[in-house]
Amino acid sequence: MNKMPRILLSLATPVALLCVWEALGNRASPIAPPPQTWLASAAAMLATGELQRAVMATLMTVLLSTFIAGVAGTAMGAILGARPGISDAVAPTFEFLRSVPPPTIVPVAMLLIGSGTVLGATVVSLAALWPILLNVLQATRSIHPTLIHTGQTLRISTRSKVMNIYVPSILPSVIAGLRVAVPLAIIVALLVEMLATRPGIGRMLLSAQRDFDAPAVFALLSTVGFIGVGVNWALESLDRYVSKKLPNIGR
């Protein structure tokens, strides 16, 4: 009963802001054109198919890289987590590699592998790898030994061990890692498109800025914003779905 006015109130601020902007904004303003010009610009880009192609290109890079990073990060994290000897030995190396900001790999990778098709997928997967790897490593290390011993005592099959002990312990951390990794992947994908002029929203944004096409910049920025909100929502739903489906092992 109290919910409806709350939703209206939370909608009111952005809507009011856009309306004021629309009413007061100068259509020819080089830096802050009103929202209607954004829509016109977006419609023009949609009509030529340019916007769809750019969104698809960026999303493809992000999804492919997240998949690679998810598989590799989970495998590496689980192996390192199960072998404390190895993870002790690699700890300082990881500490340094982790603190190199992922976007700064882009220029180095451009130098080494050129600005071809593989550049995006390589750099973005590398950037998305760390959050997943470190989360899974932590989760694997903190599986309680009693759980594994209980499994041995009950002589459950390997399949059952994987499904009932390892997957429920590790999967939430994979998703927690993804929630950090995917926004990072979007950032790095956009940066690759900007620096290496690969097709995608990043390149369109940069060329719109170079043409002083403010409505296009705002239209593209809103597109990126919608992608960000959509991805956030999808990962949150996945998180909720998985935590409902998994057996409770008292984490």
Binding site: L9, S10, S99, P101, P103, T104, L111, L191, M194, G225
Partner: protein, 254 residues
Amino acid sequence: MTSTSYTRRGRQWLLPVALLGAWQLAVMANNGLNVLPTPMEIGRALVESFVEGRLLADAAHTFAAALASWGICLLVGIPLGMALGTFRTLRTMLSLFIELLRPLPAVALIPLAVLVFGFSWRTEITVTVFASIWPLILSSRAGIEGLHARIFEVAATLHLGKWHTLRSVAMPAAFSQILVGARLSFSLCLVVSVVAEMVGNPAGLGWGLVSAQEAMRASETFAYLFAIGVLGVCANYALGFVVRRLLPGLAQAS
């Protein structure tokens, strides 16, 4: 005890040294078209740009920009977050707004900032503040929201005014949570200012990295990457130290 910790130390340093050695040998063995510089060459480039004073000046610029942005984040983020935690109506009004703006990637914002401010330090600071303020807003809000109702009941019993309650009761109680957000915010400031320099402001370590790459000076590119990593590690250690000094009990949490 000491001997095992020594061997552990030794093993920890073994891998980086072995990797660097293997790198050096591999590049030297493949004595043809080498894009990849050897660690020795990178070290030489590092020393050269350090002696010229370029590296230090660039690092100082990046650090100063990050610090200035962090200051703005602290000044704006903490009061805003605490206000959001205190007033329910304000929270409802701004919740959707924040949810829409927060996932906006910083990189996408750079072209807009360049459009408004040109290729300048204003672009860098604006983008950095926009990207790094969220952890502070959210942690200050959560810090206030998470306080037990009894704390406020005690304040009311003591007849403290609203301002007094906020300053001497709510603020100290929420301090640890705000500190966690402040730490996260500073790490973000450092990263985002480097990124902003790569695309939006031709100065600092980010620009040094990109211009070395564009000039195809491989060893210098790696030297800059290394310097950025070292700056990150140092900042992280310094912050960890400060947090431990301010809040001994928080050492495990962060």
